[in-house]
Symmetry: D2
Subunit: 339 residues, 4 copies
């Protein structure tokens, strides 16, 4: 029975705690938060748990097997590192840390110590993302030509990071999971009408085989959109995460080149317009899947779906986008992945 301690009981921590509490093969052992009022709320719901205001006390507690870090991003590195050094498995909220160097260090540390390191990119565990991944793997989409993602709405402004580190991490983690490769270069533009961090940003990612991905994130939009178009050579998918049902629509549409004769500047194109299908998706709660995967990874010593490496990849890309944003949209080349 894995005993889990949740660090941070603010916005996301209660959801994580609730899921660990509901799983049958683990125990919600403790909750830590600097605010005693928050701890009282937790105690009310889970009378049996330990409550602490200092997380170090939980690292010293041998009863704790695994840590779940649900605190602000700037504290992730310190807490995760200390947890790994104390021999605890670590699950950390997205993004893993706010720099490539610190994320690399955590990945290295977990590998050396033989501990599970997982990042909570919840969307990766969702039914629509898993279904799209399945379509790509099975070849039913053909070659993926492009991915176009939007994540816009009004608020909530964060005081410590901008939309790149707050919203775009979702899109990047999903796209990475779907494509399974590292981009060749990243470029980003944005604007910060309010505050010190970008309120809206546009990121272009060029993956191998000229697969282009684009991310549009915005905290200043009057309407809320969470949508992604995946254009394949055989089929195309529209994923609308806000649709109450039919979140995925698969279009049997496409283009074929009949004749491409550059000499005569002739491009004969054939359009295929077939049916649209919205497959029934399993009714799973992604956060529950994510928590369950953490326990499974710890128990079996096999890597979770989103391990440290996957979390590091997201940090690498978002950091490159942030660098591009500062350097006038310059393309930031990523080193080829050694695999």
């Amino acid at each position: 029975m894995t005993r889990v301690a949740v660090l941070g009981y603010g916005y996301w921590g209660p959801n994580v705690a609730r899921n660990f509490s509901a799983l049958s093969d683990c125990e919600l052992y403790a909750v830590c938060d600097p605010d005693p009022v928050r701890l009282e709320v937790a105690k009310g719901l889970y009378p049996a748990i330990e409550c602490r205001t200092r997380y170090q006390d939980l690292l010293d507690d041998d009863a704790v097997d695994a840590i779940a870090i649900c605190t602000p991003v700037l504290t992730h590195y310190e807490m995760a590192k200390a947890s790994l050094l104390a021999g605890k498995h670590v699950l950390v909220e997205k993004p893993m840390t706010s720099s490539v160097k610190t994320s690399e260090e955590l990945v290295h540390l977990a590998a050396v110590r033989g501990l599970t390191l997982q990042v909570d990119h919840t969307f990766v565990y969702s039914a629509p993302v898993q279904a799209i991944r399945g379509m790509i793997d099975s070849g039913s989409l053909g070659d993926v030509l492009y991915i176009d993602s939007m994540r816009i709405n009004l608020g909530l402004f964060r005081s410590e990071v901008g939309v790149l580190w707050d919203l775009a991490v979702h899109d990047v983690s999903i796209i990475n999971h779907l494509i399974g490769q590292r981009p060749i270069w990243v470029s980003a533009s944005g604007a910060a009408p309010y505050g010190n961090f970008e309120n809206l940003a546009y990121i272009t990612l060029m993956y191998p085989n000229e697969l282009i991905a684009h991310v549009n994130v915005n905290w200043l939009s009057p309407v809320k959109l969470r949508s992604m178009v995946i254009g394949g050579s055989a089929q195309m998918v529209v994923y609308d995460d806000l649709a109450p049902s039919e979140k995925l629509k698969i279009y049997d549409k496409g283009v074929s080149i009949i004749e491409d004769d550059p000499a005569h500047k002739n491009l004969l194109v054939d359009y295929r317009v077939g049916s649209m299908t919205a497959p029934h998706l399993a009714r799973i709660e992604p956060l529950k899947e994510m928590c369950s995967d953490y326990i499974r990874a710890i128990t079996t010593s096999e890597p979770p779906l989103v391990d440290g490496e996957a979390g590091l990849e997201v940090v690498r890309i978002v950091a490159a986008a942030a660098e591009s944003l500062k350097k006038a949209g310059e393309r930031i080349t990523l080193p080829a992945r050694v695999s």
Copy 2:
């Protein structure tokens, strides 16, 4: 009574001819097309018109006052130049020409000869665009913070140009008209899975006062979208050109900074969420307005809404985007406008 000759009777020419034919203060005098079958179709609808296969014949005809060029973009420069040299007023389909230099030459020529030069950016004449312009001018939107435009669908591929010169010219002409300024720099990325020209592209335009505009154009999308978000500091507008009614939605939404204390990394933001209004829009046919404006400009010697300068600005920006696309997304700086 202004006599108009329409050059090109393919896809768009018939619409332009129909509108000139219906106006009361001008005469559809002639139609020119190299294909005699097309001319027969025109003659069937307008038995009184002259039909020619060579446009030069119409330039020699003193009865012709004004030319409307509805031919492929690569022929625009030659035909417009010859028409102006023959002393004819010129209306030319969008884009004006395919290079800054040739567009500049036409603007110069029209000015020297005292002739009307107009470009058919039809959307600028539409009720939604005119209404948004009115809101910006009246100050009801506050400061315009960003404009985010999408124009995506499946097909139609052009054999001679890509989406930048075919689709993005619409967005750029609308945005230019709304903002009334020249961008400081332009950057673009894209991909060409099929053929020789970009099938999809993303353009970022930075206007003065850090107003950022973004254009997403795509010939490979399974769904059709024609939408624009205009984010103002006081109100925000969503313009959906495909909506059967309520094409404009005005949101009384926004953000105010209550306290921005960088020393303490504190950003206190206040959200304003009010009502949404879809104003009733005049039922005008933009193309009719455009044709009518041409005749008015000729008759009064006053510039049309979209004159040669405005058409040249669009060419300048799209040409810069095309250059950026070739140069790895490099920001292309535009010279400050001398006004």
Copy 3:
């Protein structure tokens, strides 16, 4: 070569004339309208046609083979009868006439004279309706349990009839075509806030096998809807005629009774929730199909898709609904069809 004369060149007549003019196996021979201005418009488009202000002149003209009646409903009976008596085939706008008796007389007359009698229920010829009919015929929907139809919008008020005779004839003709049976009884309620005829009405139709159909028609709605739900025991269909694409959505959804034990008031139900598919529909123009069917029926002497009998059935049902409306919603029983 069948020569067709179109009676009435107001709102719908021009569409019918255009389609007959475009068909290769017939000739638009004449147009009749009491208004000389309308005739001039017709002559401008079709210089070769005969134009008449009195329809009797066309009945005397041996060159005329077939009549298409596009005049107000109250004139249908007189014109159709005279045409049949003159030995002409007859196509009449919906509804055939405004009473069962007159419609019966026309059906009888056409049968006796061996002439084609067709009613222009255009929607029956549309791709969505034909596709739904195909699904019912193939059994893929299972048993049809109910049909729920809405046809609401603001205006246009007719001065001579209410929504039953103007709008509901569409729904009834579609439902009749889908089910292929006569209802057992009809009941209707409505209201007439403005004018002398009902502005909105609700009709219930009970078909054999307890198949219930319901029609909601309204001239006073702020929003426009043209939708129909067909609930089958195996699949369910939503038909949205206003959708720009995906007019049909087929839901693999349903209910099965696992255990129904009235003694114990137990109803155990199993829900099946599968995928949704929007099939690609042929891009046909229903009015063109309808006109083409008329010529085919005349040429082959085989009945058209919507013959006099089918038109009479619609009149029978709408007349029953109108009677019910007057009689406080009383159920009006229709005689069983002798087949």
Copy 4:
């Protein structure tokens, strides 16, 4: 401090208990459920409460001031009567009871004993319904001409009642609250493809001043709709309860009769098509408002928003609809209200 006991801790009881528990001016004192497992769940969340399997024990408990009945409809009468006889205030789930006679008895009993009797028609407390009521009261809609309501989806089948008593009670309670009058007659049709109770039904209600209301309820629909159109002579409202935002849309649309000359069968109508506005609605939780209203009514001895009389009116109408359904859709006349 009013002490509340909740009877029934199945589907709805936990929501009611949670709200009473959160209110500051009352105490969630006890929960009753025949199933000990359900009681344990309640005890886990509210450790201080009393738990009982027999509700009579709570009626004998002097500490209990008020009862909230969240049990199946067929038990409402017995439990409410016993509670009132024991001197407790009563809040009962919708519908109050399943017959007019039993509801009348409860209303009488509460009046005689001077106790609060309230029915949980939650929608009446919602922001959209309150806003529409405000528009009607202020006269901004003009005369209400019709109300058209839909409440359709797949499942959930109830084993003891059909859609009339399960779904239509919502629509009827909302419409009653908006209009504030009793209908003159009620008529209903329906079908029961599965089980013993109607799975879908259509109800027409005629209110004074020829205001017609229509309710479409269906358990067998592949799509989920919760919408209402309120057609007024000055403005019209569309209320979509499933919209994530903009649940109310107010259309400045309408019709005026310019000239209505029956002698000449002339109806000249003028259409007014203005803007649409979606007002910002207060973010209230209707159930919380309802619970709060119960406590307020008890404390002040003033009637709640939905008192016994209002609940009885709903029962009266739904019972009439059920009677009509059995009697072939016959119009069931309701006695004029004595006020």
